[in-house]
Symmetry: C2
Subunit: 120 residues, 2 copies
Amino acid sequence: MAHQTVSRPGLPDDPRADAAAPSPSCPVEIALDALRGRWTTLVVRELLRGDRSFTELRTALPALSDKVLADRLAHLVGAGVLVRHREPGVPPRTRYSLTERGRRLGPVLQALWDWGAATP
Amino acid sequence: MAHQTVSRPGLPDDPRADAAAPSPSCPVEIALDALRGRWTTLVVRELLRGDRSFTELRTALPALSDKVLADRLAHLVGAGVLVRHREPGVPPRTRYSLTERGRRLGPVLQALWDWGAATP
DNA sequence: CTGAATCCCTGCCGATACTG
DNA sequence: CAGTATCGGCAGGGATTCAG
């Protein structure tokens, strides 16, 4: 429940909104942590357009190294943003696709986009 | 203009949405850069509640060191999120307050909060 | 094809001490 | 009161190499 009665305009009526120090249980930090790291939002963007294989992601983001791509994918899986589907056989195939939670990042990225695109 | 006709569902119809590599001109990166760094969102939260002096911010966030607080404030000023008002005299007084742009971070933080608070 | 292992380099952040 | 100066530890990210 993120939207109870709000007693302070513009801020959630939740004890976590009063944290005096960074905390992993703060929803804002959870979200920023999911998006943390170079290339992360670009990987999410690719997957918002449809599921992709490892190689398809490399092709879409040529300047992204294998290691960092694997890091980002593992991180996003851990954050519950996407899932990895291994299809058995040789050569191995793997597909990545967004979870429902991952798809809900769409509006979040839109909010970030709108803020960054607005003229100062 | 961030909201022309959208030809791809959920994504802006803007060339910057197709970037093949991280770019400082991408609106999403502009926004994430403004919020980048530990403590940054907590400083913004304090200022969303009203303008503050350096010492008031230290009091509200006791575990935050002087150096990092000064770093964060300078960074947020550079990002156009807040402004510093120096009041001449001894002892020196300085007040920090959000710009209009900074106030518009409210909905952005709300979107991040809602995503992070949602059950997976 | 899809990664994991390793190395190195850079930048962040915290602690401490000092100044107009 | 409101910062700056300096230093050190550690994690992020890139290049390269190797493996299932």
